[in-house]
């Protein structure tokens, strides 16, 4: 080889490597592809620019087809355009580009689940990924967030009353998916595919019952009114006073230990007509949850139960309304969009009308005079506006108000001149008795990102009781006149500001945490008087006029943690501080829950929770009344504390038709109070109310069994409770434990709802309970009223009955059958429906109370039981459009 040739070869050899190293990230490339696989792109780059790609065919998939047209763009940019959408990472190793898959094993899907027709957000809907056996439920605002492995292809969403839906997920990326579900025609047989729903056994939460609104409206009604609280009373673990009156007792707790929330705002007295009906109009309710134990960390402030009622959002797309009239009340509801898909509103109202009908009859029976008046009614009204600012921000504003009132006024003009009465005066008097609630709520949902949801709430709630009288008297004969005015009011007000976060960092953790501050203002029983008489005689114009302010601060956190696929732990902590009159009470309450999945779809669950209540309800020992007063803790009466341990088993059958749960609980309550035996009922709670009460403790334990069928033509539930609950006060029954007034050993409830066809539906409910405790007299003796036997007015000495030990007897067993039939007819523009209900169908005489009756003729005395509700048919008619 000549020297020239050697030089040329040398240059060639030298140049070769340079040619190999001739490309870098910045070289400009031109590439043009039309629906061709990535593989072709790689081959073109290699051919034109000498860039060699190295990858493993098993891991990296280059078959994706792309269309691309770039001219003179930097290589790095072009590679990004090609590979980024498919999560392929290109990196330079030596002289080659090595392709690997991006290691992003997780992705989060979030969004809202709503009713496809109306946009109503669905609470507690299940979003489930069967392949990974992971799922979640939507929160109070219909929001869900689920973090999964990326190679998930679809999610299933389901909710009672709606057709389950499957959503195919896009191949990659975090996604916000709004899921719209279609309500089912409940006659369709739902073909449930395998593993579509998160089963009861897969939820860690126990002691919780959810009542679908459709069931509240389908069960038999009292006097034509469907009622959520009455329906809750037909569940195991929940007892009520006689015929539903007098408050609700959950697992041996007293009625003031239930926290009743309407859209997150506490309602202090949820009863109309002394407990016969609740203040919640079912037309406006979307969801009602009852927690009897295993309380999540975000709830606090009461010992025994949480009833979380959510109002409907309002139809975002169309206008709807409903008008109905029942045996005692008339109501309406109207909802619709103010701005389609952005703003919706819902408005409802209800008023009882019997007083308007019976006005004249009552006036003559009570002798109210020509200008007299009589009103006895209850009403409630709800309003709500929702506004969606953006997919990340929503605002809700709602208000609720209601009242029970009795107004009587008389007007008499006496001109009698007949002896001996000789009345000649004009007398006018009016009297009002009323109680009611007022609440307002403002909430703002903000979605920070796929994993973090927040809600800021401001709410206000008030319960008041008021009675007042006016009295005018003027004599025609002499200068004598009277003008009196008196008023008694009691009130409790609450103002809350809080922020809650919902955070789903990874599939095995669902974290909730938040902060809240509540200001309570107690005004327990103020009197106010005015006297413009000829001879005024007022001891004072105002009495007990003071307010007490208490501030509650709460910090909570909980994590639903999947330790292993079979073992879930829900660990939470609720820390609360209560500041009142320079005293500070604090508590740290653990909230622990555990769920272990056993073979054959059984789950074993256990929970341990502490609950704390710094405010008390002063009530007499007989029954709960609107005059009961809310008071804060004092140095003598400390906040109540309960500890509850629950253990149970749950299962949903394979065909998803039946849900079964068996739970046992043991609960202790400290610092419960009641009036001493001699304290007069309805004492206004003056500054020293705590001198009139005694402090003790309570205990309850038992077992609850619930079998539910939530789907199909026939739905319903069967519940059985075996429970004990007692109280212990040093001053009662010589300090021995005695049965609590709501203690009923056995309770059996059966409710069945059957839909024949699209027009006819029937339902029946049967309840049985063994007797409740009763205090009865154990001796009789002579009383005395006058000191001297020579008194001209000496009456026959009264007979006094000596009461025995508290609650040592039992009433007779109580049972009752209720029936109802509903006929619905769908017309072109509207749907009408008739409901005929029969309360106490076989006229069982259940005791409301007992008393001793004297029969002087037969010289006999005997115990009599009084029943107030015999068989009661009722009818209601409603029109929906």
């Amino acid at each position: 080889m000549s020297l020239t040739a050697k030089l040329l070869l040398g240059m060639l050899l030298c140049c070769f490597p340079l040619q190999v190293l001739a490309w870098d990230w910045h070289i400009k490339v031109t590439l043009s592809l039309n629906d061709q696989p990535l593989l072709v792109a790689c081959q073109l780059l290699e051919k034109n620019y000498g860039i060699h790609f190295s990858y493993s065919r098993d891991v990296v998939d280059l078959s994706h087809r792309i269309t691309l047209d770039v001219r003179n763009k930097p290589l790095k940019k072009v590679l990004e355009l090609l590979f980024e959408p498919y999560d392929i990472v290109s990196s330079r190793i030596g002289n080659q580009i090595v392709l690997t898959m991006k290691s992003k094993p997780l992705r989060t899907v979030s969004g809202y689940v709503e009713d496809a027709r109306t946009g109503e957000k669905l609470i507690g809907a299940t979003v489930y990924c069967p392949a990974q056996r992971a799922g979640t439920v939507t929160n109070q605002y219909g929001f869900y967030s689920i973090t999964l492995k990326k190679d998930t292809s679809s999610l299933y969403t389901s909710y009672i009353g709606y057709t389950p839906q499957r959503y195919k997920l896009p191949a990659t990326g975090n996604r916000q998916i709004a899921m719209g579900l279609q309500p089912t025609n409940s006659l369709q047989e739902i073909v449930v595919t395998e593993n579509m729903k998160e089963h009861l056994q897969e939820q860690t939460q126990m002691s919780k019952v959810n009542i679908p609104v459709t069931e509240i409206e389908a069960v038999p009604r009292l006097l034509g009114e469907a009622d959520v609280m009455r329906t809750l009373q037909s569940l195991p673990g929940v007892t009520a006073g006689a015929d539903g009156s007098g408050g609700m007792s959950v697992r041996g707790g007293s009625p003031d230990q239930n926290l009743i929330l309407l859209d997150g705002t506490p309602v202090f007295n949820s009863e109309h007509v002394f407990g016969i009906f609740s203040v919640f109009n079912p037309d406006i309710i979307k969801n009602a949850d009852l927690y009897k134990g295993a309380f999540p960390a975000r709830y606090g402030g009461r010992l025994s139960s949480i009833v979380d009622v959510s109002m409907k959002d309002g139809d975002m797309k169309n206008y709807h309304g409903e008008v109905s009239i029942s045996t005692i009340a008339a109501k309406f509801m109207i909802e619709g969009p103010l701005w389609k898909n952005k703003t919706s509103f819902i408005l409802s109202g209800r008023r009882s009308y019997l007083d308007l009908l019976m006005d004249d009859a009552v006036k003559s029976v009570l002798k109210l005079g020509e200008n007299g008046d009589f009103y006895a009614f209850f009403y409630d009204a709800n309003a709500r506006i929702n506004h969606i600012f953006s997919p990340k921000d929503r605002l809700y504003l709602s208000a609720f108000g209601g009242e029970d009132a009795l107004i009587i006024s008389q007007d008499h003009d006496y001109e009698t001149t007949d002896a001996p009465d000789q009345r000649r005066y004009r007398e006018q008097s009016s009297f009002k008795l009323g109680w009611g609630n007022l609440t307002g709520t403002l909430r703002w949902n903000h979605v920070f990102n796929q994993r973090l949801f927040s809600n800021v709430t401001f709410n206000y709630s008030q319960y008041f009781f008021l009675t007042h009288y006016h009295y005018n008297f003027k004599s025609y004969t002499i200068d004598e006149h009277s003008q009196l005015y008196g008023r008694y009011t009691s009130r409790i007000q609450n103002a809350v500001g809080k922020i809650d976060f919902d955070y789903r960092p990874r599939p095995s953790h669902a974290v909730k945490f938040g902060v809240a501050s509540t200001t309570h203002i107690f005004k327990p029983g103020t009197f106010f008087f005015e006297d413009d008489s000829a001879m005024p005689s007022l001891p004072d114009t105002s009495y007990n006029n003071f307010n007490t302010v208490g501030v509650d601060m709460v910090l909570y956190g909980e994590d639903d943690w999947q330790l292993t696929p079979n073992l879930h732990l829900n660990a939470g902590l609720h820390a609360a501080g209560f500041l009142v009159e320079k005293r500070f009470y604090r508590s740290v309450q653990p909230r622990l829950g555990l769920r272990y999945l056993l073979p054959k779809s059984w789950a074993l669950k256990a929970a341990y929770t502490h609950m704390y209540q710094p405010i008390h309800l002063l009530t007499n020992n007989g029954t709960n009344l609107p005059t009961d007063l809310w008071v804060p803790s004092t140095p003598k009466v400390k906040p109540m504390l309960s500890r509850q341990f629950t253990i149970g088993m749950a299962k949903t059958t394979e065909d998803h038709q039946y849900e079964f749960s068996l739970e046992g609980y043991y609960k202790t309550m400290n610092n419960v109070i009641e009036y001493t035996e001699y304290a007069s009922a309805f004492n206004s709670a003056g500054k020293k109310w705590d001198d009139q009460v005694i402090i003790g403790k309570g205990r309850s334990y038992g077992t609850e069994v619930l079998l539910e069928k939530k789907q199909g033509k026939t739905k319903g539930w069967l519940g059985y409770t075996l429970a004990w609950s007692d109280r212990q006060f040093a001053e009662v029954n010589k300090g021995k434990r005695y049965p609590y007034k709501y203690d009923a050993r056995h309770n059996l409830e059966l409710t069945v709802i059957h839909q024949f066809n699209k027009n006819w539906e029937i339902s029946a409910g049967w309840q049985f309970s063994t007797g409740k405790p009763l205090t009865l007299p154990v001796a009789s003796y002579e009383g005395i009223q006058e000191p001297s036997p020579y008194d001209p007015q000496l009456p026959v000495p009264p007979r006094v009955d000596e009461l025995g030990a508290r609650n040592q007897f039992r009433t007779s067993n109580i049972h009752r059958l209720d029936l109802s039939v509903t006929y619905t007819k769908k017309k072109r523009l509207w749907t009408k429906s008739w409901n005929l209900s029969l309360y106490n169908a076989y006229n069982q005489k259940n005791p409301f109370y007992y008393y001793v009756k004297s029969d002087p003729a037969a010289k006999e005395r005997y115990l009599v039981q009084k029943t107030i509700f015999p068989i009661l048919p009722s009818i209601s008619y409603s029109v929906k459009f």
């Binding site: 001796a779 006094v800 109370y849 009661l872």
Partner: protein, 289 residues
């Protein structure tokens, strides 16, 4: 306030309530001595000793008197007076020989064969300071002034009598029914339910230390010539007994749906009944024409 709720519930529950005899066996605590007396200043003591009975008794309205009981009265711990048994208006009483004196503490005991002996103690309250009784013919109101001492808790009982003058002395004829202004006893419902009473007990909660004009509304216009107002000072024990007795009597009425069982107060150890001191003051006036 109780009456308001009872009234309201009664109105609202115009549904047909029905009664049924209950098949519950009421037990009996056993026979005990019942000791009843109100010790009124300047009067001898009339002590009634009877025996208790089962609740569902068929003995009729009268209780068995323990005629052979041994009854003693002590004044400030010392023997006070002998008692002798006397039948007055068909009923038997143990009557003391001496009159009750103000400012003392009395202990009464009763024992009978076969039954546990009982005892009870009470003091004598202060005499109420009332004056200035006034009423006018055809009026529906009358008034008097009561001055309440502020340092103790006082309890009062009010009776009003229509009276006539015979032999220069004003004697009571019959009791007049009246009601108090609701600002005194918080019984708002009286106004609307047209309730009048022959006998009311009042605690000095609202009037402690004050001199107040009590204006009473009568059920019928004033037509009589004279009037007597008797204000009786009560002790705490007497007040509790009379108030709880009144509450229990209200519960006996069939339509009282509240029917919370009421425990009648008793200060008799090992038995039932009440021993309470009373001090009455009567003021009179001629009704203005």
């Amino acid at each position: 306030m109780r009456f308001i709720i009872v009234y309201a519930m009664g109105l609202v529950m115009l549904l047909a309530a029905c009664d049924k005899e209950a098949r519950l066996n009421l037990p009996y605590e056993g026979d005990k001595i019942v000791l009843n007396t109100f010790l009124l200043v300047d009067s001898v003591a009339y002590i009634r000793v009877t025996k208790s009975e089962p609740v569902v008794s068929s003995n009729g309205p009268e209780f068995t008197e323990l005629v052979n009981a041994q009854v003693t009265i002590l004044e400030n711990g010392q023997p006070f007076s002998a008692v002798h048994h006397q039948v007055i208006n068909g009923r038997g009483y143990f009557v003391s020989d001496s009159a009750i004196r103000p400012g003392k503490i009395y202990t009464v005991t009763a024992a009978a064969t076969g039954l546990t002996a009982v005892t009870a103690t009470d003091s004598i309250p202060a005499q109420p300071e009332v004056s200035g009784l006034f009423a006018q013919k055809t009026a529906s109101q009358l008034n008097f002034t009561l001055k309440d001492p502020g340092n103790v808790i006082n309890y009062y009982r009010i009776h009003i009598y229509a009276a006539d003058s015979t032999d220069g002395a004003i004697r009571p004829l019959s009791r007049i029914e009246y009601r108090l202004d609701p600002s005194f006893n918080n019984n708002f419902a009286d106004i609307i339910s047209d309730s009048y009473y022959q006998d009311l007990v009042v605690k000095d909660e609202r009037i402690s230390g004050k001199s107040i004009v009590f204006v009473l509304q009568t059920s019928k216009p004033v037509t009589y010539k004279y009037m007597i107002a008797e204000v009786v000072g009560l002790t705490e024990q007497g007040y509790r007994y009379l108030k709880s007795l009144d509450d229990q009597q209200d519960n006996q009425e069939e339509d009282n749906i509240l029917a919370q069982p009421v425990k009648v107060y008793s200060n008799v150890a090992n038995g039932y009944g009440i021993v309470a001191g009373m001090y009455a003051k009567r003021i009179t006036c001629k009704v203005k024409e």
